[in-house]
Amino acid sequence: MSPHASEPLIFDIGEEGRANGYVEPSRPHVEFLPKALLRDDLPLPDNTELDVVRHFTRLSHRTFGIDLGFYPLGSCTMKYNPRVNDQMANLPGFRDLHPYAPDGLSQGALQVMYELERSLASLFGMAAFSLNPSAGAHAELAALLIAKKYFRDNGRSQRDKVIVPDTAHGTNPASAAMCGFKVVSIPSDARGRVDVDALKAAVGPDTAVCMMTNPNTLGLFEDRVHEITAAVHAAGGLMYYDGANGNAIMGNVRPGDMGFDLMHLNTHKTFTIPHGGGGAGHGPVGVAAHLVDYLPTPVVRAVPKQGADPGLAPSDRLTFSLDFDRPKSIGPMRSFWSNFAHAVRALAYIYANGAEGLKRVSQLAVLNANYIRVGIKDVLETPYDEICRHEFVASAQELKKANGVRALDIAKALLDRGYMAPTIYFPLIVPECLMIEPTETESKETLDTFVAALRDIVATAKADPQSLFDAPVNTVVGRVDETRAARQPDLRWRPPA
């Protein structure tokens, strides 16, 4: 079958009655429940296992992942996902453990959570983390709920403003709105950093939280962040660190040392958890000492184990339990304790690296980003021409003016050459923006061929712009009609009438 041929929907493949024998036939439902409570029809297809295996294998062939090629998607940290992590997460002792299993029979799982939490607290300089939130945006929400409750408990509910730089991820203002905060946007200065004077002018008795990403989404280190934290703290506000760019700082700087009171991590980015097509993520939320009581429930509590062999590793000499009895807590953020399988993966990655290894990871992520930056800056504008961190932004503005070629066209041309495209049109302050994050797991040869491909695309943009407008042509479908998708929403298959 040609990879270009379309794959039918699963609903168009099967025939009723093709059972796979996973379970024995059951007695009719009506023997157990009154007919009025039962459904009349179950309009799902019956497929053989072979047909299902072929269908999803073919769908996988129509999907690009890190395992197929370079994935420089800015702000997403698409690094290699070590397979030992998945094998560990799928050990029966972890995989088959019910969340209501008694603490005494779940000590290994609790130990994983405890060790991960302690490691993150040390690496990022926070007093404690909760592994409860499900993803980055979810942890942002948790952090802002903590701030809201903290101010309410201290009789300072008038603090209703959240300060957000204009380079921030969209989740920052959206999370603030979900806590009833008003958003104040602060412009960036000519160096691509938060305009510190504008920020100081905006800070006041109504300031609840200032949210910052450092390095910011332009890939630049906010080198005056200590002035910002001082100003916000002087005004009685809290500082929040968006850890989406955590891959740039490990072992180098810590949000706690920079003065942040609250933070989150996207462990699925920094700690090699497979992104799985857009989730599940994992978003621990961390706090300084004065906010520990507000963390979402539950947290893992550890006490010394009676009579433990002193020769054992420190965490093997502890007894663990889940602590739900935390009166000041904002409460739980999700049904159960954590995206636990991801905690196993993150801990396996920490084991593989240790503190020194993680420091090296961040250094090499920064090295790779700068290597691409200097490799293309003579052909694509780099609006902030200085050492970047783990990512940087380029702009197609000049190409657009001269040849009509946009960032989108460059992105599609990269797809034709076997690469995932960078993040485009974000951050919003750089026109025709391409945000490139290579990560540390890519080799110099991969970066060299990517730079050559980008340079070739820019040359093509000048010589034959039409060929870029037509891109991609090597993919299973060409450019997709997004306008039609939005104007005539077709969000599901429907059975034939």
Binding site: R95, A341, T441
Partner: protein
């Protein structure tokens, strides 16, 4: 680890960049320099990572005990073909399908997931998934709040207590109040209290779970559905045991406009609580209020069928503080697993699995209620779990069962002080007759003790 750089690579790259060392690349002002020794275990070779984590996994004795635990997370049969397919690197290592042309496979799988959820719930549309069942309820409530602008939510006390707790966490942020409806003697939501509450036009939504936390099949009665309609309150159905959708009348049939729930039962591992996968489905009128990703079918520039993320004007990366939700990540990989599960079991398999859950749970109920001192607390019709009153503190009984190698269920006292003597017990298609006999025998031992003075 997992970095390919040789010292020679690093030297060449630094030279090209024009920087002397890796430390120079990372330079920061003195005030920001790291101030502590990092307390992280030293790096381990891969075989020792595996050894250490395997040892921890082995400490989780609960993972292979005889278990009657349910209450929002369920043990069901998982066909091995799911792992074969879902763990393919293309699926595992992709990210959100922003670039549709190289993401057609994943986009199509999500479109199929959206369709399956619609077919199962009777709703018109479904999103690409949310974090889990509890956050699905919170996001569904926000949809209703955005629909009618009201700042109060009505929720049955028979809705999973964890879901209600998360709803409260979210509502505290939004300054939305929650009122709760009592449970009737049969374990369902008290319809007369419901009718009284719906005389008010203050509620954005009324949330009912079916099967509810006690396992009882629950719904808005036709009169309550009329009252909800008259008061402009959005009926939200909650489903935490998705296998029930293979047997029970759809939430659409009793008037739900939004259906939220948890699809862990469709092939997703219990994994001590996550990751799982929440779903949100609704009638078409709520389409532009639904949170998170949506996949639509359209065409490409060659007029071929193509799939793409759509209606993105609702989302945070476009709308920022005016978005319908802050949600960015969905649970794509878990939704993929659930989609593969539904494709594999199909109509015939899902019907049989649902039927076996009905059958085994009745076998369990019969065995348990024949033990002296054990009674079913509620007489409402149930799906695959039910509440047993053991006439002793349930926590003690469960500890004694545990000493006999059995996880007997969930003690209700931690959520409902008035049910401190009650245990929620679950049976699925995997529950065996001998496990049921072992529980009945152990229960006979532990409940047949003289009453303490």
């Amino acid at each position: 680890m997992y970095t390919p750089h040789t010292e020679r690579d690093i030297a060449q790259m630094l030279e090209k960049i024009g920087v002397g060392s890796l430390d120079d690349l990372m330079a920061v002002p003195d005030a920001l320099k790291i101030r502590a020794e990092l307390d992280v275990v030293p790096a381990l070779p891969e075989y020792q990572i595996a050894r250490r984590l395997s040892r921890m996994a082995a400490k989780n004795a609960a993972a292979d005990a005889i278990s009657f635990l349910g209450a929002g997370a369920y043990r069901h049969y998982v066909p091995p073909a799911i792992a074969t397919l879902a763990m393919r690197g293309e699926f595992l290592t992709a990210y959100t399908p922003y670039q549709a042309e190289v993401s057609q496979g994943y986009l199509q799988a999500i479109y199929e997931w959206q369709t399956y959820i619609c077919l199962l719930t009777g709703m018109d549309i479904a999103n690409a998934s949310v974090y889990d069942g509890a956050t699905a309820l919170a996001e569904g409530a926000i949809m209703a709040i955005n629909a009618n602008g009201r700042k109060k939510i009505l929720v049955s006390r028979a809705v999973d207590p964890n879901y209600r707790a998360v709803l409260k966490t979210y509502c505290d942020g939004l300054d939305v109040a929650i009122d709760e409806l009592p449970v009737a003697a049969d374990g369902s939501t008290d319809q007369s209290s419901l009718a009284a509450a719906l005389e008010s036009k203050d509620y954005a939504a009324i949330a009912i779970q079916s099967p509810n936390f006690f396992g009882v099949v629950d719904a808005l009665s036709p009169a309550s559905a009329d009252a909800a309609r008259a008061s402009g309150t959005v009926p939200i159905a909650v489903v935490s045991e998705a296998i029930s959708l293979g047997a029970l009348a759809t939430p659409a049939s009793w008037g739900a406009q939004i259906v939220v729930g948890e699809a862990q039962s469709f092939g997703v591992a219990q994994a001590y609580g996550g990751p799982y996968v929440g779903f949100i489905a609704s009638t078409t009128e709520h389409m532009r209020r639904i949170p998170g990703r949506l996949v639509g079918r359209t065409v490409d520039n060659r007029d071929q069928t193509a799939y793409v993320l759509t209606l993105q004007a609702r989302e945070q990366h476009i709308r920022r503080e005016r978005a319908t939700s802050n949600i960015c990540t969905n649970q794509a990989h878990c939704a993929l697993i659930a989609t593969i599960y539904l494709a594999l079991v199909g109509k015939s398999g899902l019907r049989d699995i649902a039927g076996l859950n009905l059958e085994r749970s009745r076998e369990l109920a019969t065995a348990v209620s024949s033990v002296p001192g054990c009674d079913l607390r509620f007489d409402g019709p149930f799906f695959n779990e039910f509440v047993v009153d053991v006439h002793r503190p349930a926590e003690e009984v469960l500890v004694e069962l545990q000493e006999r190698g059995i996880l007997g269920g969930v003690a209700l006292g931690r959520f409902y002080p008035e049910y401190a003597d009650s245990i929620l017990m679950t049976a699925t298609e995997l529950t065996t007759t001998s496990e049921i006999a072992a529980l009945a025998s152990a229960l006979t031992e532990v409940t047949n003790v003289p009453a303490r003075v």
